[in-house]
């Protein structure tokens, strides 16, 4: 497996607060990496830095061996890196299908003039995007609800829809910010299976969560953060045995009692 994403000594400071300090990790093609840590560990900030929502104050991000540090999100989308959000994940007032068409914008949009004139090229792009959206709807099992308004869907479906919007952009790497937050056990399983499907397509995944069971079930490797720093990285089994991780998660007394 070749290396798709490389994060090197990434840092970000907000005034006196070092939100992310010197973190480094890699994601291979088709790999699922879990990004885990207690609240306030800097997980979301790290994803914001990598996806271009925030500019890093230090370090590098490489995507497919090209330096993409500090590029704006829409440029990163064109390079194949798409991310989802914890809260605003869907266009609530639009149908599921329209949500996906918006996600497919970079494939759909032929440029201002072509789009106003409705040229042949614009029509070809429209047909291709329609076909691609149909495909995403099919493999995420959203076909039945494609004409429903997003806000009418159950919360678990909305989370899957958030992923579907990102997938409509045909990413090589998708970063999911707490895809299972606030979901029931059954819904969590559904999201987990969906993420596996995504990887099955050869798409790399970086998933943030603080649910250890969800992450260790799903991920090939795990990167643990606390207070903006790397605590550990490795396979879920390695990380779960790591004393500092247990301490950060469950407290000192629990860690000592086990040793």
């Amino acid at each position: 497996m070749s290396r798709l994403l490389a994060v090197e000594s990434l840092s970000r400071r907000f005034g006196g607060l070092q939100a992310v300090a010197d973190i480094s990790f890699e994601v291979a093609e088709g790999e699922i990496l879990g990004l885990i840590g207690p609240n306030g560990a800097g997980k979301t900030t790290a994803v914001n830095l990598i996806s271009g929502v925030l500019k890093p104050s230090g370090g590098r991000v490489r995507l497919a061996e090209r330096d993409v540090t500090g590029l704006p999100p829409h440029v990163l989308v064109a390079r194949g890196l798409v991310r989802t959000f914890q809260a605003t994940t869907v266009y609530a007032g639009q149908t599921v299908r329209e949500n996906l068409l918006r996600g497919a914008f970079r494939h759909l949009y032929p440029g201002l003039v072509a789009s106003l004139l409705g040229t042949g090229a614009a029509r070809v792009r429209r047909l291709e995007a329609d076909a691609h959206v149909d495909e995403v709807l099919r493999w995420l099992d959203l076909e039945r609800v494609q004409h429903q308004v997003a806000s009418a869907l159950p919360y678990g479906f909305q989370k899957v829809l958030g992923m579907a919007i990102a997938l409509a952009a045909e990413p090589r790497l998708i970063m999911l910010d707490e895809p299972a937050a606030g979901l029931s056990a059954a819904e969590t399983d559904h999201v987990r299976d969906t993420i596996r499907l995504v990887r099955g397509r050869g798409i790399s995944v970086v998933a943030i969560d603080h649910n250890m069971r969800f992450i260790s079930d799903l991920c090939d490797r795990v990167f643990v953060m606390a207070q903006g720093r790397e605590l550990a990285q490795g396979t879920p089994q390695q990380v779960l045995r790591n004393a500092t991780v247990i301490e950060a998660y469950l407290g000192k007394s629990y860690a000592q009692a086990r040793h």
Partner: protein
């Protein structure tokens, strides 16, 4: 679906035919104002659809108007050159200002455009030697002598209005329009779907301000006068109110708002002393009972008629 072309045909015949039903110059005059204002209001609608309310739109009309009038009257250029220069000036100004002010959103964008609009007005007043200051410039030539007839100018302005409103409709129904809607409903989400948010906002702003410039040129050569008060915050606010009262969610709303705001003061002209009060009361009532704008009235009536028909057909079967 099959009724659509017929509706458009009726609208076209009505727009072209009505000036021949009356020789009343005043009605023709209201027609001209409607056409010019429709261009300005529908172009502002484009900006509103990106989620921004600009209070500088009349200022861009003013830049277009002064650009055209000054070049035509000082350099003896033909009207068409004035149109190009006036529109070009509004476009260029929007290209400079847009990328800066469009980084602001919400109330900050409203405030900065308000200030910018006032700056334009004060600049016009200040450069009196060049712009005629607060007196303005009189005796602006018409585009052509035959356009001194109000009826002729109506058709002239109507042609521009059809093109302008048509351009807005086309933009909103295109893939570009899809991006505009995505930005309004979820700017962060749109950006992370690959929508170049700032570039699209600036493009919309520039197109809209260019159209405002065209409206300004048409207005100046119609009333044959330009003055700073014609392009002040009051006019900008009027354009915003047209969008709000008609219904901000659709272009049709902006057009309904235009018709409402242009004709209502003319209809109330007989009651000079209470005109402003009645105008305000009607605006209040509209917003209170139709928060979605006047277009909501049409929708509700439509639903009522359909409901009746459905009930009637149930009885019949």
């Amino acid at each position: 679906m099959t009724r659509r072309p017929i509706v458009w045909l009726v609208v076209a015949v009505a727009l072209v035919g009505w000036p021949w039903l009356t020789d009343d110059k005043f009605l023709h005059h209201v027609g001209v104002l409607l056409c010019i204002t429709a261009i300005a209001a529908s172009s502002l609608h484009l900006i509103v659809r990106t989620g921004h309310v600009s209070l500088a739109h009349a200022a861009f009309m003013g830049v277009g108007a002064y650009g055209s009038v000054l070049s035509v009257m000082n350099f003896g250029l033909p009207w068409i050159a004035g149109l190009v220069i006036g529109t070009g000036a509004a476009t260029a100004l929007a290209l400079v200002v847009g990328p800066i002010v469009l980084r602001l959103t919400g109330k900050y964008f409203v405030l900065i455009t308000f200030l910018f609009g006032e700056m334009v007005r004060m600049a016009i007043v200040d450069q009196a030697g060049f712009t005629g200051g607060s007196n303005g410039i009189f005796n602006v030539p018409p585009p052509a002598d035959f356009l001194l007839s109000t009826r002729a100018y109506y058709y002239f302005a109507l042609a521009f209005a059809v093109c302008g409103v048509g351009l807005c409709a086309r933009i909103l129904s295109s893939e570009f329009g899809r991006a505009i809607n995505a930005i309004r409903e979820g700017e962060r989400l749109a950006e992370c779907s690959g929508v170049p948010v700032i570039r699209i906002k600036v493009t919309v702003f520039v197109i809209a301000c260019a159209m405002a410039g065209v409206a300004g040129v048409l207005q100046a050569h119609y009333i044959r006068y330009v003055g700073p008060e014609g392009f002040s915050i009051v006019q900008s606010l009027n354009l915003v109110v047209m969008n709000v009262i008609g219904g901000m969610a659709s272009l049709a709303g902006a057009l309904i708002g235009t018709a409402f705001m242009v004709t209502l003061p003319e209809l109330l002209r007989g009651y000079v002393n209470v005109q402003q009060i009645m105008f305000g009361a009607i605006l209040f009532a509209t917003m209170a009972f139709l928060p979605g704008g006047l277009i909501e009235l049409g929708r509700r009536l439509g639903a009522l008629v359909r409901g009746r028909r459905a009930a009637a057909s149930r009885v019949a079967t």
